[in-house]
Structures are given as structure tokens and as C-alpha cells.
Symmetry: C2
DNA sequence: CGTTTATTTATAATAATTCTAAACTATTGA
DNA sequence: TCAATAGTTTAGAATTATTATAAATAAACG
């Protein structure tokens, strides 16, 4: 599968073509919502609500399907911070996160701002697929 | 609430007394399973299964209640690595984790083995409640 | 003891997510 | 251009981890 980066912003149909996904009305609309502004974080529910507000008619199941397909295509990345729901990040470049626990909101930390100095070797027979750093915050944003 | 550290191993009833939790049969049995050996990681389901094997009669709801009470008392810490289920770690001292994605297994990384060199300041009005580093691994353990 | 208060439990409820299978739509190539 | 094919969407049911409820039980305390 060809690598596709969602930023800088490209035409949604070009994005979908590169990801080998048919440019359906629903996927085009979601790609626009996700990638037209700056990088952002969504949950299935938040994106679904946003689509409804924007008068995009689609089902919640399609939002789930699309988020997963986009993730597989490298357009999104999943961020695990909270066992009660799944977050997706449109910023797929290497970086880490602040998680505002009181609000359930994620924000990006610049790649250079976290510097892991010493990293242990992966155990025999395994390889590192990713390193996630989550800085959990309490208090107002 | 008095701070209670589960290691080195203490008598379960002492642990519970310090945590201001009544020493019921169920809590004593779970404390024994959790803290009698070395540090470990469990899920509610895994601990429930283990209790059944050990012929401890209790309900799954009690396992959930107890895990949360122990976490509040500082005997356990929750580790968020997988949106499909919640892990609890009996090691409450500062350290980070390997997550073996293929097996769904957590292992500890020694505190000194990860060195975060530069940490960004907490945004205005917030404070850092915790920094989690998860090294995700693929392949056999 | 007996009373109060905390705990346990079976069961129902919840909530996020996935599944199913029928209806629909984009693609392909004659 | 159009029919056939293959991929997509969807409503609704199913699943799964977890939490809530409220009645029964057990610990604490005088």
C-alpha cells in the first residue's frame, strides 16, 4: 500500500485514490472534516456529531469503518489514553501527547519537546513498533 | 488516606487495615493472589479466572470493585494500553511498560532504563499527574 | 449480643464497538 | 452506455467490558 500523508492538505479524492479507497460521498465528507483544517483529534462519536451538524448523512457504523480504514492507510493514527473510548489523531508524524484528564482532551506535543534519552532494547525476538509518551494533566486547560 | 505499598510482601490483613478496607474473605484472597508473588499485571477477567482456579468463591463484580478500591488506596495502578480492556499493575513505583501487542501482555521496564531527557512544561493552569511511556512490541515474547 | 454500616452478589443496565445481511453505488470492460 | 461485479453503506442486532441496583450477608462497635 502506498504511503499517504494527509498534510499538507490535499484534495480528499486524491487522498482516497492513493489509499485505494473508493471516493464515496461519506468518505469524502469525513476526509474533508478531518483534514481540511489543522491537525486534530477525534473520537467516532465526536466525528459523527460533527458530520450531523454539517448535514452529512451517514451512519455511525460508517464513521467507525472509515476511521479504521483511514488508520490502516496511514492517514490516521490511533491514540490509546482512556479505556472508555478510542481517539484518532490526524497527525501521523512522530510526536507525543498531553492528555487533559478532566476534559478528556488530547493535545499534541512537538516531536522535539520530548527527548527520550535512553531506551531499553526490545526483548529477544521482538521489535519496537512504537513508543508512546502520554503526559497526563489535571486541571483546567 | 495512609499510603500503602504492597511490596515487600506484607500480611494481606495488614495491607487492608492500612488501606482502611474491611478484611473480608474476598479481599484477603485477592490480595494474596495479587501480592504474594512478585510484581505482576492482571485484568479483571484474568484475576477472576485465577480466583476460580484457586477455589475462591467470589463474583466478577467483586473483582472489579476490589481492583478499583485497591487502586484508590495506592496498592495498584491502572495501565492504559489497549482500549478493549483495563490492566492493573501491582508495581506502583515509578516505571514504564513494554506492551507485547501480539499477546496482549504487559511487562515492566526498570525505572532507570527509560530516561526522558527533556519534558515540556505543563500548559498554563494544569499540572502533570503522570508520565506514561509505553513501548509497543510486535513479535514473540 | 444487637445495631449500624460496609460489602457482596446476582442480575440488569450501559456504552462503545463490531457484526450481519440486505440495499446501494462505484468501477469495469464489452 | 450499460450490465455485471465488487466494494460500500446502513439499520439494527449482537457483543463485550464494565458499572449500577438493591437485596442478602458480614464486619464493626458499643
Amino acid at each position: 500500500m502506498e504511503t499517504v500523508a494527509p498534510f499538507p492538505y490535499r484534495d480528499p479524492s486524491e487522498l482516497l485514490r492513493r489509499a485505494r479507497l473508493r471516493p464515496t460521498r461519506q468518505r469524502l465528507a469525513l476526509a474533508r472534516l478531518l483534514f481540511a483544517g489543522g491537525p486534530r483529534h477525534v473520537t467516532a462519536e465526536s466525528l459523527f456529531a460533527e458530520a450531523q451538524t454539517a448535514n452529512v448523512r451517514l451512519s455511525l457504523a460508517t464513521v467507525y469503518n472509515t476511521l479504521h480504514q483511514f488508520t490502516e492507510a496511514g492517514l490516521l493514527r490511533e491514540v490509546v489514553v482512556d479505556s472508555s473510548c478510542t481517539y484518532f489523531d490526524t497527525n501521523v508524524s512522530e510526536h507525543h501527547h498531553f492528555f487533559h484528564e478532566d476534559q478528556g482532551v488530547l493535545t499534541d506535543i512537538d516531536g522535539e519537546e520530548v527527548n527520550i534519552h535512553a531506551l531499553p532494547a526490545a526483548p529477544e525476538g521482538t521489535k519496537i513498533s512504537r513508543v508512546d509518551v502520554i503526559i497526563r494533566l489535571s486541571g483546567q486547560k
